[in-house]
């Protein structure tokens, strides 16, 4: 009974937290941690409580569009690579971006997440900015080529998800990248 009461309180608190976010915010999953440890009293000498650990879920993903997985189809290719300190989509990737723009146009229910990436050098947060510039650049070209703006979300993973981890230019070049993912794939 005690446990039920406590988790009900936790739910109310969490709902309150979600309700206060403004309209266009998506409520990301929030962990319910339940009641604090019984008997974990605050010491008058330290004023410090133990830290309650939280674990995030492991997401799973499947794509509803088979054609996107066909290795013979250009649509199975998703990555646009960028030069150092550059953000424009190079001509060699124009065909690829065009194909995805056509797909988005032909499948109005399809949604795309573009994840921009940066190489590991420098500040993590500034690199989030650089990755964002790259994903915004891919998004801009897709919409110019006929995709709807509201089909696409451009985000940045900064330097956090490198595909290559050696500290050399060859590796850095692979990490300066925009990846196009469809709904169900992330």
């Amino acid at each position: 009974m005690r446990a039920i009461t406590c988790s009900a309180i936790a739910c109310v608190v969490l709902l309150g937290a979600c309700a206060t976010t403004s309209e266009d915010q998506k409520p990301a999953p929030t962990e319910s941690a339940g009641p604090a440890k019984p008997g974990a009293s605050t010491s008058p000498t330290t004023g410090r409580e133990p830290v309650k650990p939280v674990e995030t879920g492991k997401p799973s993903a499947t794509s509803p569009f088979a054609v996107l997985k066909d290795p013979n189809n250009i649509l199975s290719k998703r990555s646009v690579y960028f030069d150092y300190d550059k953000f424009d989509v190079k001509d060699e990737y124009r065909k690829l971006v065009e194909a995805h723009a056509q797909f988005l146009k032909a499948n109005p229910s399809a949604k795309m997440l573009i994840q921009g990436n940066a190489d590991e050098r420098g500040s993590r947060e500034y690199n989030v900015g650089l990755g964002q510039r790259r994903s915004d650049s891919v998004k801009k070209l897709l919409t110019l080529l006929g995709a709807r703006e509201d089909q696409i979300e451009s985000v940045s993973l900064g330097e956090e998800k490198p595909v290559c981890t050696a500290a050399n230019e060859e590796c850095y070049a692979k990490n300066r990248r925009g990846d196009m993912l469809y709904n169900g794939e992330y």
């Binding site: 976010t21 830290v51 939280v54 995030t56 420098g122 964002q132 979300e153």
Partner: protein
């Protein structure tokens, strides 16, 4: 110096059985003058291994300002009520003396009492008594060290403050919190996606951070004691670089929801988002000055990333850094007088310190991959992330550049350190 290093190594080995994968500390420099201090084992402290006095001594020595004296076993064991033979302690070359006792209470907790003496002036300086549960023995020792440090240096001690950092092991990311000495670490959040940019709320009870668990950067505020967390910013696009306002009610954040990476303010509960500034550049890494009047941030509006500041209420930004083509991650000292940041110096990313009144900058480190500097709440030390031997480690450098410490863990990369505030 060599002896001291060996002594510390012995201490660390002695701690190993109780330590799991805790951060180990190595000192690679020292302060100029160290106060010789005799920290007598507190009478009866053997019930709390490794002993309160051991932790107090390690804390004080790690500051670089104290040298703990080697003491023979004393008979009878002195405590806070013993008469002090100043001549005897002078002959041991002690400038200061700590004696005290630990007594078990009937309720299972303990009492610790201690007194600090000025041996040179031959008079007591003060003392305190604590009542604490066994698992709070470390914090109690840190509080004693803080008292001694403040009485003898005139500056507040930071031994009882906490640090937060991220450990990456394989695909797993853990946001951890530990004592300032790296011990007693606890995991606040475990995830299979990156966690970056943790920042402490001014009351030391919450962390704001960026988690990629939704395949994009989303800002959370997380209360440590109960593990409850909520989304502060999950707008379309990226949400990153949170910075607490000194009032603990609002955060400056970077959002891409209107295109680019731009500065916004948001209330800590996620409501009331409003734009702070507009530029065609990347504006990121906001930080409030301690008086709340200014927001320092990184921007590449001038062609390369440099540090700027703008009035927190809004207004024209002013450029702060001019030397070099890459100056990022601004952090204002607690007294508001200096600015620590990362500068690229011949291809190396290093911590620099800028005196805001004289505009003189000094590079404090000689490493190559420094990131995320963070002032101790008394302003004496700067904690940072760097890479040594291909692994991420935490390091600390004194604001005068004289002393360096390295904190590393046996497994995994450690990064994104944030030094927490003073908590009473």
């Amino acid at each position: 110096m060599l002896l001291r290093t060996i002594g510390l190594a012995a201490l660390l080995i002695a701690w190993l059985p109780v330590a799991r994968a805790q951060l180990a500390i190595e000192i690679t420099g020292a302060g100029a003058q160290r106060i010789p201090i005799a920290i007598v084992p507190l009478a009866g402290e053997k019930v709390l291994p490794p002993g309160i006095s051991t932790i107090v001594r390690a804390d004080l020595e790690r500051s670089g300002l104290f040298r703990g004296l080697e003491l023979p076993p004393l008979n009878p064991e002195p405590n806070e009520n013993s008469n002090v033979n100043y001549a005897e302690w002078r002959s041991r070359l002690a400038d200061a003396l700590v004696v005290g006792s630990v007594t078990p209470r009937p309720d299972g907790r303990f009492d610790a009492n201690f007194r600090l003496y000025d041996v040179v002036k031959q008079k007591p300086i003060g003392g305190l008594g604590f009542t604490f549960a066994k698992e709070q023995a470390r914090v109690t020792a840190h509080r004693i060290a803080d008292f001694v440090y403040e009485k003898l240096t005139g500056e507040k001690g930071v031994f009882s403050t906490r640090i937060a950092y991220v450990v990456k092991r394989g695909n797993r990311y853990e946001l951890q919190v530990a004592d300032a000495d790296g011990a007693g670490q606890e995991t606040a959040l475990a995830s299979f996606e990156p966690i970056i940019s943790p920042v402490w709320s001014p009351d030391g009870k919450r962390l704001a951070y960026v988690s990629f668990e939704n395949k994009k950067p989303v800002i959370y505020v997380h209360t440590l004691a109960d593990g409850k967390r909520h989304v502060v910013a999950n707008f379309k696009g990226s949400n990153s670089a949170p910075a607490w306002a000194p009032d603990g009610q609002r955060l400056a954040v970077v959002l891409s929801r209107e295109g680019g990476s731009q500065l916004f303010m948001v209330n800590a509960d996620g409501s009331g988002v409003r734009r702070l500034a507009s530029s065609p550049a990347i504006d990121t890494e906001p930080r409030f000055s301690p008086d709340g009047q200014w927001i320092y941030f990184t921007s590449d509006r001038g062609g390369s990333p440099q540090i700027y500041r703008m009035p927190a209420a809004g207004g024209e930004p002013q450029r702060i850094t001019f030397e070099g083509s890459y100056n990022v991650s601004p952090r204002i000292s607690p007294d508001g007088k200096t600015l620590a940041y990362i500068t690229r110096n011949s291809g190396k990313f290093q911590v620099a310190l800028l005196d805001l009144s004289t505009r003189q900058a000094q590079i404090l480190t000689d490493s190559e991959h420094d990131e995320s500097p963070s002032f101790s709440p008394n302003g004496r030390m700067i904690l940072l992330a760097t890479v040594i031997g291909g692994r991420g480690v935490l390091s600390a450098v004194s604001a005068d550049g004289r002393m360096k410490q390295r904190l590393s863990t046996a497994a995994g990369d450690v990064r994104e350190p944030a030094w927490g505030p003073f908590v009473e």
